[in-house]
């Protein structure tokens, strides 16, 4: 090291620092003081400092607070340093320091402080140039804004161009102004809050009602409150309707295959649930094949035909080997297919283990659409509703517009006559059974996206899907659709009222009673036979 004539670099640097500090303490006085208070003050002083820094809203304040949150802010002697890797900057002066001093001390951040800090950082992001950053920050602040942030919020509000963010900012500002000293400001705030979709605004207004003395303000607040409550109730209703449709679509998927095998062919297939389970496992295997590839998200598209084919093949094998010998003996069919289901469950347990397996959602199915604050419609559910419609359309086309469908309908209506005019009934049975089984596989593919995939998956759907088919009536696709949606709604509405288990019991009992009244289901085919 080259020591010069002026007594070495150390003295020189100290001198410069002192001069600089003297100069800057004048120019940056308020912000510098706040930063020092943040570093050296007591807990309360630190919080004051955070509030002051947020209110100033300068880029530097943001930088310092971020450093504190990241644990990069230190004290060394009288100085406050921001240390990033090997470089240190004086937080007050902004001066670069060549080497990081060894004797630096952490600034302790307790939980209370951390909370304040989090809100403060979110508030500072309000003035970020990127829309997405601002949007996420606004959402964070909806429930955690502090009165000290009001100036900043106002500033952001004035600068904001995006209408959606601007509306939310207005809500935040109004919520903060509720505590204002100025009566006019409070009145404006109460009126403004009537537009809120946020459940926490309700609590805020209730608290306001308790504290406010002014009667006119109080009545305004009540008006706003009822407006919010009305809107929230609508949101809740929408949520229930959505979950009902979603449950209905799941029931529909699970029952559609059964509607073909039982409804059209009269085969009681107790192994139907296991065919669903096989579809789910086929999805799992497909997913594993795609693992590590860049196109992982596409596995679900590939899994759809795979699940269909695997289940359809298993179903056709069952039909050829067991079920065809039992046509016309429904009770025996019931027992033997139950036996098949036991074997399939144990086989899957032996191959894949008794534990549930993990099926990951593709990226495009995670997350959801937020219709109101707090009410999110998950993409996976939306996709399944769409998928159920797609499958339904496919079956309808197949049954009504193709030769196979014509044969299936013919055999359903009059097996002997169909056989006489040359329909190969045995082969049609196999194909129809394969079709029903394949649809069960599709249901399994869909269910793997929203629930656990394990050997017992099918057991939990078998009772439900039979209920749908029985309720809907035999031989009718439309009946199945109505029954699935109806059960979905009945279940969810009762669930909101009495809890899930009682809802389920009530629905089962309703079905038992319903069958007494209409033994052939809602949409029975008209016929003259005394006995079926």
């Amino acid at each position: 090291m080259n020591k010069g004539r002026f007594g070495g670099p150390f003295h020189m640097r100290t001198l410069i620092t002192i001069v600089f500090a003297l100069l800057s303490s004048g120019a940056l006085s308020q912000e510098g003081k706040d930063i020092e208070k943040l570093a050296f003050g007591e807990s309360d002083e630190k919080i004051e400092a955070i509030a002051a820094l947020v209110a100033s809203g300068t880029p530097k304040a943001a930088e310092v607070l971020q450093a504190l949150a990241d644990g990069e802010l230190y004290t060394a002697g009288k100085r406050v340093l921001m240390v990033k890797g090997d470089t240190a900057t004086d937080a007050v002066t902004g001066e670069k320091i060549a080497s990081v001093p060894d004797e630096k001390e952490d600034i302790t951040v307790n939980n209370r402080l951390r909370r304040e800090l989090g809100a403060a950082l979110a508030a500072l992001k309000l003035i970020s140039p990127q829309v997405e950053v601002r949007r996420s920050s606004v959402k964070e602040l909806l429930n955690s804004a502090e009165p000290a942030m009001l100036p900043l919020v106002r500033k952001a509000l004035a600068a904001e161009s995006d209408p959606q963010i601007k509306a939310m900012l207005g809500q935040i500002a109004a919520a903060l102004e509720l505590r204002s000293e100025d009566r006019a400001a409070r009145l404006a705030a109460v009126k403004k809050l009537a537009d809120s979709n946020n459940a926490s605004t309700k609590t805020l207004l209730l608290g306001f009602l308790n504290e406010e003395k002014d009667e006119e303000l109080k009545s305004e607040a009540r008006k706003s409150l009822s407006a919010i409550e009305g809107r929230l109730a609508w949101g809740e209703r929408l949520g229930v309707i959505f979950t009902s449709v979603s449950l209905g679509s799941i029931l529909l998927l699970a029952a559609l295959g059964l509607a073909i095998t039982y409804g059209l062919m009269g085969v009681i297939n107790m192994a139907h649930g296991e065919l669903i389970m096989i579809g789910a496992y086929a999805t799992y295997v497909t997913q594993n094949l795609f693992k590590g590839s860049a196109h992982f998200d596409w596995y679900l598209i590939a899994a759809i035909p795979v699940a269909f084919l695997v289940s359809a093949l298993v179903g056709m094998a069952l039909e050829r080997s067991v079920i065809r010998w039992l046509y016309g003996r429904p009770l025996e069919t019931l027992l033997s297919t139950w036996g098949i289901s036991l074997i399939l469950i144990q086989a899957v347990r032996t191959i894949f283990g008794a534990q549930n397996v993990q099926v990951e959602n593709p990226a495009f199915m995670s997350g959801g659409v937020e219709i109101l604050t707090g009410i999110v419609l998950p993409w996976s559910r939306i996709v399944i509703i769409g998928f159920a419609l797609f499958v339904l359309l496919g079956i309808w086309l197949l049954l009504n517009k193709t030769r196979l469908g014509l044969f299936v309908r013919g055999v359903t209506q009059n097996r002997d006559m169909a056989s006489c005019v040359g329909v190969p009934t045995a082969r049609v049975d196999t194909w129809a059974f394969g079709l029903g089984s394949g649809i069960a596989g599709l249901a399994g593919c869909a269910l793997s996206q929203i629930g656990n995939v394990g050997p017992d998956l099918g057991q939990s759907y078998i009772v439900d899907s039979f209920m749908v088919v029985v309720l809907g009536g035999v031989g009718q696709l439309a009946g199945t659709v109505y029954a699935a949606l109806g059960l979905g709604f009945a279940n969810k509405l009762l669930e909101a009222w009495q809890g899930a288990v009682l809802a389920k019991i009530a629905v089962l009992i309703f079905i038992i009673i319903f069958i007494q009244k209409r033994p052939q289901g809602m949409f029975a085919l008209k016929g003259r036979a005394v006995e079926s």
Partner: protein, 359 residues
Amino acid sequence: MTSARLYGPKGWALLGAFAAFVFVVMPIFNLYVPQESSFHMSTYWVTLLGKILCYAIVAVAMDLVWGYAGILSLGHGLFFALGGYAFGMYLMRQIGSDGQYRQPMPDFMVFLDWKEFPWHWWNSDSFWWCAMLAVVVPGLLAYVFGYFAFRSRVKGVYFSIITQALTFAAMLAFFRNAMGFGGNNGFTDFRRILDIPIATPQMRMILCATSALLLIGVLLLGRWLVTSKFGRVLAAIRDAEARVMFCGYDTMYYKLFVWTLSAVICGIAGALYVPQVGIINPSEMSPANSIEIAIWVAVGGRGSLAGAALGAGLVNGAKSFFTQNYPEYWLFFLGAIFIAITLFLPQGVLGLVNRFRKS
């Protein structure tokens, strides 16, 4: 004359041999032959046999409705479990203050912080009251359910499916703690019956012998019923209900009677079953259990009461064997029986025996 109608000489001989085995041979080898002796019969076997005898009673009850009236119930496990729960209430009260919490209330009620017994536990410390409940509750439920179902002429597969829905709904209900039946743990940890400790070899033997007595009684009653004129009408209903109706019979009451009787028998079997296995919980009501009852009957031979009892013994014997030695193959085996019996042996094992005898 009556006896000749019930069973032939061979039948009576077999029944007598069975009675002699359970009432004479077993007590001697279990209670009077010392444990060190290689002829000693362990209490494990007594309990296992007692359990299987209860299943056999259920199978006979099931055969009455399925084999003779053509009604396949997938909910007989419910009646069995209801009988078990009714008698289980008494057994819970007999624990007294010996439970884990040392309180006069059953442990699960202490755990839920209940201060008083729910209304349906009224008088549950009386043996006769609970024994009566074990008969009346399944009977009443079956009567009401059957009345509406048969009146609307729900039959065949539809009937099977709604009985399944019924037992499934009941299972969900009994899983709830609020029902006052111990939630998913059910009743367990029994100590005494009529103030006599349950876990002694003597008590086990008595319970097993009672089950055997009941089985013999049910077999005779069932046999008497199905060989009577009533039984012939039942069989006619099974084969062609519409024709029987056109002949002027009101088939509903025939079906309702045999259905309710069957449920009552199941309830009594359940009441005997619970003290022997020492536990009753809602999984007894699972639809899978009820379907298994059907396969006992199918294995033994539908349309033969003794066959049904035999089938229950065979399937449950196999179950004990497999679950102890090859637990992972039990479901394969059970599934294979389901398929093989329906495909190749519609008359069950007895049908096979008869076929050999003829040829």
